[in-house]
Amino acid sequence: MNDSDNLIVDTATKLLQDLSTPSIINDAEAGKWPGGLWDALEESGLTLTWVSDELGGAGAEVSDGFAVLKVAGLFTAPVPLAETLLAGWLLGQAGMNVPAGPMTAGPVYADASIDLNGGKLTGSARHLPFARSAKHIALIVRDGGTPKVALVAVADCAIAHGVSLAGEPRDDVSFDGVTPLKVSPAPAGLDETRLAMVGAAMRSVQMAGALQKILDQSVQYATERVQFGRPIGKFQAIQHSLAELAGEVAAAGAAADAAAEAVARGAFDDADVADIATAKIRVGEAASTGSAIAHQVHGAMGFTYEHSLHHATRRLWAWRDEFGNEAQWSIRLGHLVAKRGADDLWPFITGA
């Protein structure tokens, strides 16, 4: 975090407070594109936080982008802000100019492969976030096995609609026969796995924001809802549940911050892998435990579509599985530390 964070966070907070309201979020799920929200984000430059000045972006720090994503998670913004940042990051890595408008990036699953042959693509991407809402897709493709970065127009692709647990677009996109608008060689080390690392850090930070939201909402509800003649927050059982939720939110926030710092360092070495894995694992756990507590505290009220609790909890349930879930990252991290050996475990944890 640097000094400009406060300004950027303030800008994002004011904007999202006004334009990421419960009714706009519900409308978005019903298929109405939140144009006012998106345009305001784009005009403020927040959508290109991860793109340098030279490539048409805002030229802010990596940490600034993560600070914005935390706020976007807090307000459960129903737009591809994270996806546009990720696409901008990916294009920027290959030195490509970044177009205006909403974007998404893929593949989300590191095992997927999209091939480039004679200038045309073959292959598909599963569950691509907001594909139908985006104008462009930034992709890692394989040209004879070598990773390259491709910019594709959504209008050129065949899209089959799908939705996440939060009702957000997660579309299957076929690239068969599509000619990319532009292709550039990927710099050394940039591949599907690295994209998933940045994606995992991104989702972790969004989840940390959404977890903060459900803590705020749950504490507020517990002080307002009266049963047995007093606010339910006066009952020790509820107090203990909310204390546990606060612990989960705190742990998630700490882990997500470390992942954002790892991406900002950008070495993507074992230490960075461990920080990102830690975040996706620990924040994912907090999403599961925390959502359950928030719903329990809200009772039947929080189970209704009318209440806004689900804006955060359903996104948490969706995000925890994207770019690798807790089990996948745990296995990766476990193999990583096992290979380094027992005597290196503590030095590795302390980074010294």
Partner: protein
């Protein structure tokens, strides 16, 4: 809606602290090689070694943050953090001096008289003077303010009568910092009328009875006071301010790495058994435990950063202890699924030994120093619910 909850600022330890870490590691490697200690789980409550404590004193790793005039080294809370986390993660025997270094010394620095500081702090720094805490009583556990041990005003001091319990290390320590009722209980102001006394455990009228724990060890005790004379010079701070003074210690007492590293040696020795090519099930467990540990360490470092900055993050410290002590149990439960406990045989078995100690000690982790129920209450108060 205002954001509720807790903030843990990022802490950069810096090159000096990292050099200190390297020094501690080198020392520990030598001690291990020469048989100076055997790594144990929960070593800060069960590894008693006067020799080891004195060695740490000679190295300059006790009273690290205290003023030089009392023998201290005027280093930062984060320097101390690095040293303690290295000692704990190695399972080194640090129990004897732990309370004096962590809590009693800082208390005397804050509230003690000049005479108390000069006579006691340099001895703690050398690893020669040990403290225990006299808070709980047979009828006063979580409800500490209900305690009944009392001091009667007499010429030149106080006559103390009562009973303290669960006093770790009392049989080996020089002093107890005891919380004693010095004016009659007032049910409308339960925290008033308590005072902290520095009690010389060799005083006449004290008897110390060991209590065996479920691991078969007798580290904690019942301490009986029968008309024990405590001179005025041994009052800590102000008469009647005991509760306030005790609360001020809590952020130090609860945020340290001992609240989540007590079972680290089980994770390390378990990983050694599992080897470099684990199956995915074992790898997944290890990965999850490492992730949880890294998150906890960052939170704990954040609280210590706030302490170093002069804040008193009591609720954040309670939260770290609550999450951290539950993690201790998770380590043991997860590791035994992959490498079950093996009853002790004739040959040395490092994993079985630390797992045994870990399992038999872990019930106390979520009780000592404030039960998790009490801690959740503190967190709930911070959330504005009480």
């Amino acid at each position: 809606m205002a954001a509720t909850g807790f903030r843990f600022p990022k802490v950069d330890l810096g090159p000096e602290a990292e050099q200190l870490r390297a020094d501690v590691r080198a020392f520990l490697a030598e001690e291990l090689a020469s048989g100076g200690f055997t790594p144990m789980a929960d070593s800060w409550t069960s590894g008693y070694s006067a020799e080891f404590s004195r060695k740490l004193g000679a190295k300059g790793w006790l009273g690290m943050t205290w003023p030089k005039q009392y023998g201290g080294h005027e280093l930062t809370a984060l320097d101390r953090y690095v040293v303690t986390e290295e000692l704990l993660s190695a399972g080194a025997p640090v129990a004897l001096h732990w309370i004096a270094d962590r809590q009693s010394g800082p208390l005397l620095l804050r509230f003690g008289t000049e005479e108390q500081r000069q006579s006691i702090l340099p001895r703690i720094v050398r690893g020669e003077c040990y403290f225990c805490i006299g808070m709980s009583e047979p009828d006063s556990g979580s409800d500490l303010a209900s305690l009944r041990s009392s001091g009667k005003r007499v010429d030149g001091g106080w006559l103390v009568t009562g009973r303290k319990i669960w006093t770790s290390g009392a049989h080996l320590c020089d002093y107890m910092i005891a919380l004693i009722r010095t004016s009659p209980r007032d049910d409308t102001a339960r925290h008033d009328g308590l005072s902290q006394f520095l009690i010389d455990l060799k005083s006449k009228g004290i008897s110390i009875r060991p209590i065996s724990n479920i691991a078969g060890e007798a580290h904690f005790n019942e301490v009986l006071f029968e008309d024990v004379f405590v001179p005025d010079s041994m009052v800590v701070g102000n008469i009647g301010d005991g509760w306030k003074q005790v609360v001020s210690e809590l952020a130090f007492e609860r945020s340290g790495p001992e609240r989540f590293l007590s079972s680290f040696v089980v994770l390390r020795e378990g990983l050694r058994e599992i080897g470099e090519m684990p199956n995915d099930g074992a790898a997944g467990s290890i990965g999850r435990l490492v992730a949880q540990l890294k998150a906890l360490r960052r939170m704990s470092l954040g609280v210590n950063g706030l302490l170093q900055a002069g804040e008193s993050p009591v609720a954040a410290a309670a939260l770290v202890k609550e999450v951290g002590t539950r993690y201790e149990r998770t380590v043991l439960e997860d590791m035994r699924q992959h490498i079950p406990y093996r009853p002790a045989g004739q040959s040395p078995d490092a994993y079985a030994s630390v797992l045994r100690d870990g399992i038999l000690h872990v019930p106390s982790a979520t009780i000592r120093g404030g039960t998790n129920e009490v801690l959740k209450g503190i967190v709930a108060r911070e959330l504005g619910l009480r």
